[in-house]
Symmetry: C2
Subunit: 227 residues, 2 copies
DNA sequence: GATAGTATGATTGTATACAATTATACGAGT
DNA sequence: ACTCGTATAATTGTATACAATCATACTATC
């Protein structure tokens, strides 16, 4: 099954459709294409140097991810990131990361635990020096390890999706002072998993998300996405 | 935004792609296409009387839903329903239906509450007479009302997806004696929402899913999907 | 007989051509 | 001036043609 992801990456890298899909996805998430903007097949095809076919296939996928809305015989329109959606995702993730941490207690491998410890150790180093970019990357990686350690492809896939979705906001959040605090929370979560305490791990992961969310609110970071 | 769903239905009904998508989806979920079976574009196109283009677009969507796996330049292979996936989904849904019920306390409309009451009342009637088909439909509808009442398009969409995914299993479960019990649980959930008690509503919805899951295990209904 | 290499056929990936639908502009009628 | 209808342009929906890739079978070589 890990195979599938590898294959997927290969697809995305070498097929035009995959490249178009990821490119448009990025452009929407990064704000190049604004809310309600119309995406035209030929225009995007020309911009990327491909025909309409791979563009259309990419559109179908983007629609299923909720990033665009396709109206039959009319066109594809960007569905921008809504503040409400981000809020909802944080609450949903709160529950699911809790579940993920709970399952991780039983299924995490020695290698994954070691990588977590290394991750946290490294993050302490970079936090002390204010290396924001590295912090963001390490945070990213910590959560991905957690997702992979729960032994559920379903949950892993779901959480990775949401994680991606709020990536931009998250990066800004971590660029604030929360980086160090967040890392300490990671440490507690890891320790709970290590001592195989599912209730504690769940509760901590739960709270970790809520803290991140409230920090975001406090800092007014969501206003960037106000409509 | 409710508009979007309507538009989507129109697409699915009138576009070839939408029809192909739903048809293949059904066929996979209903077991016509077995696990690991290869789906060939031309064959399916001929069977449905369309060209490869709409079939390919449908494939891309099915891949994103995880129902098929596309290996570049090789083909599309059915990813059958795994027992593990169903188990995971029930646990994920347990958490999310809880969250949904919690949010419903604040956001449910008078109309939705009335439809819920009617639903439960009707279900009592059919449960007493052993009308399994109606019970399944009413259960379906109850959960959909709940999803729609939480005021979160994100959560609603997610829960509806999962609900669909385990539809077959669920129907079998309800065809057993649990129908009446399940309806009583619905009643309690509704009452908790009605009296605006989020903690209680969440806990009850939570447990409702776990009960459904354990009933499924007890009855050995998952063995139908054993690989 | 086993294996490596090659040729052939099947299948997918992409581009393009044509059909259907929708939006826009223009003009006639009031 | 306004509205309705029609013509035209733009855009998407679908089908098909061609290119690239992969699987299979056959043959030559050891």
């Amino acid at each position: 099954m890990e195979n599938q992801d590898v294959k997927q990456e290969v697809t995305d890298k070498y097929s035009l459709r995959g490249r178009v899909f990821h490119r448009i996805r990025e452009d929407i998430l990064n704000g190049k294409y604004k809310d309600h903007e119309e995406l035209k097949e030929v225009a995007i095809g020309q911009e990327l140097g491909v025909s309409r076919t791979p563009v259309r296939e990419a559109f179908r996928q983007l629609e299923l991810e909720g990033l665009i809305q396709i109206i039959p015989n009319r066109g594809a329109y960007v569905t921008g990131i809504k503040v409400k959606d981000i809020q909802d995702i944080y609450m949903i993730r709160s529950k699911l990361e809790g579940l993920c941490a709970r399952w991780a207690c039983e299924h995490i491998t020695k290698e994954q635990l070691e990588e977590m410890e290394e991750n946290i150790y490294l993050a302490e180093f970079h936090a002390a020096r204010g290396h924001m970019e590295q912090m963001a990357e390490l945070d990213n990686r910590f959560h991905n390890i957690l997702y992979e350690s729960c032994n559920s492809k379903m949950l892993e896939h779901l959480l990775k999706d949401y994680h991606q979705y709020v990536w931009r906001v998250r990066q800004q959040t971590l660029s604030s002072s929360r980086g160090a605090v967040s890392n300490v929370e990671h440490k507690f979560i890891m320790e709970a998993i290590k001592e195989n305490n599912p209730d504690k791990a769940e509760e901590l992961a739960n709270q970790h998300m809520i803290n991140a969310y409230e920090n975001m609110l406090d800092k007014g970071l969501l206003e960037l996405y106000e409509q």
